[in-house]
Amino acid sequence: MSGVSLKPRAPFEARVDMAGITPVVTCALTLPELERLAVPFGARSVPLAELFFIEGAPEGVLLIEIGDARLDGVGAGMDKGELIVDGPVGAWAGRGMSGGVLRIAGDAGDFLGAELSGGEISLGGNAGERVGTASSGARRGMSGGTIRIAGSVGTRAADRQRGGLIVIDGDAGEGLATDMIAGTVSVAGAIGPRMGRGMRRGTIFASALPDLPAGFVDTGAHELVAVRLIARRVPELAGVLEGWESTRRIVGDTLMGGQGEVLVQA
């Protein structure tokens, strides 16, 4: 694989902010420049080469050979290219991404894909709280792109999400899709309590009927052409929606005037 690889010199004693170290940046710099690149490390700033062995040519893929839960902001701000992490990452991975591909083999901390507007994040393990959500104080969460999670996610995933797709192969914690504005979420496992509170629009595909707030109304079972269309147009959901002939549609949060929907195979 051509590109730049970063291999930690030792387990990190403090958190590292990797935001801005993207394939575009590593391609634009020479290896000596890359080695001198300053990164926040705990309360100070250090050259990248102090933390990582840096190898390869400044082109193609950026590889972090051994992941670490103290690596925050991995892939944050990416707009193109491919970043691969062989292991876990910390918080804020893929924050504000607008393009490119971020592949993480292990777990991720909180705020994975926060404010994502494009591109694709693929996670091999579990994610922490607030996947695809908004940063503290921001009004809107992810607006585009795709987050695919092989494991489970913590609380408040898709909080204030206004577009894009989150596919969770495992379980989702409490408060999924709170204040969701638009977009699509699929959960193959169990969904925690109090999902969808304040949901305005958007679609949740659930494997079983979740515990919903009082503002959700069951409209019954329907043959929805839209489900067939999504199954064919969205490869990530083809397996999830296979065999869905009839769909139970629950609409909410009507207490907020919302028209979001939870779709469950009938």
Binding site: T184, R201, E223, V225, A226, R228, L229, I230, R232, R233
Partner: protein, 309 residues
């Protein structure tokens, strides 16, 4: 040029630029898809009186459609983009939206955008739901039967309208049989429609009229009952003439449809009562697209399709 005893006259069809779009309409069954297609493309034979020209390009198997149901591909052409943007949402709203189980999708991705649900979504009175997948947005409109699903818009092409050829035969029955044979073969060509009833025109027109305000009138030079009373193009043995008009997404598509149509007619040959193939033009001064019959049929003639001379 003579193919299988049929004279290919040394003339050309003169055609015009049009703008067009393709809609993919699906339904629960092929029958309902076809019903929607026929309704949507009804009263769309000529821009002269219908505002557009439309037809069913072909039927689609479930694996060819966006939602995996049987469908039809429709082509709709208008003289300019403004008119196209007017007629497509009208036909969509009145003929597809209303037809049981249907959904409607963009059939062309490129070109200027023609609104679909972008316009008719307001029928849902605020209950419409949009979903964006990649760069494409589609809408779901709650209706009494369930939901109508429709792409936000579709692309468009600069196409060709008014390609044509005339079948000169000894009798009405023979002219019609030849026209029917041509329509069957031309229906297999992608990117074209034959907008007239059954693909055949029995009342071809010439430009202008003795009556003020009429843009077109009967093509008297090809009316067998007027032979001798007007400057006629019909030899004595011709008793009936049928015309086939072709609209297509490109010059090449119309040319190919013309070729296979004439070949089908020539396959019947003089034994089938076909005397000659002619074409309608205006002297080459009006339309920029010229389909020269002998050039188009040259390969068929060389291949000995029924005895070229």
């Amino acid at each position: 040029m003579i193919i299988n005893g049929v004279e290919i006259r040394d003339t050309f069809a003169e055609a015009f630029p049009m703008v067009g779009t393709r809609l993919i309409v699906t339904a629960d069954t092929p029958e309902w898809a076809l019903t929607a297609g026929r309704t949507t493309t009804g009263f769309a034979t000529s821009v002269i009186g219908c505002g557009c020209e439309a037809g069913i390009e072909r039927t689609l198997a479930p694996e060819e459609t966006p939602d995996g149901r049987p469908g039809v591909a429709l082509l709709i052409f208008a003289m300019d983009f403004k008119q196209l943007k007017t007629v497509v949402p009208l036909r969509l709203g009145q003929c597809v939206l209303t037809c049981p189980t249907t959904a409607c999708y963009a059939g062309i991705e490129d070109g200027k955008r023609v609104p679909l649900a972008k316009t008719i979504r307001y029928f849902a009175d605020g209950h419409q739901i949009s979903k964006k997948i990649g760069d494409k947005r589609f809408w779901r409109l709650p209706v009494m039967e369930g939901e109508f699903v429709c792409d936000e818009d579709t692309g468009s092409v600069e196409g060709v309208g008014g390609g044509n050829f005339l079948i000169l035969a000894r009798s009405r029955g023979q002219a019609l049989k030849a026209a029917e044979a041509a329509v069957v073969e031309m229906g297999k060509v992608e990117g074209v429609i034959l907008p007239f009833p059954g693909g055949v025109v029995r009342s071809g027109s010439k430009v202008g009229s003795k009556y003020k305000g009429l843009f077109a009138s009967t093509n008297d030079a090809y009316c067998p009952t007027l032979r001798g009373t007007v400057p006629s193009q019909l030899p004595a043995e011709v008793g009936s003439v049928m015309e086939i008009v072709i609209d297509g997404v490109s010059f090449e598509a119309v040319s190919e449809a013309t070729r296979v149509g004439i070949a089908a007619v020539c396959a019947l040959g003089s034994e089938g009562g076909v005397v000659a193939i002619d074409a309608g033009n205006y002297g080459g001064n009006l339309g920029p697209f010229h389909f020269k019959l002998r050039e188009i049929m040259a390969a068929d003639a060389e291949n000995g399709a029924g005895g070229a001379a």
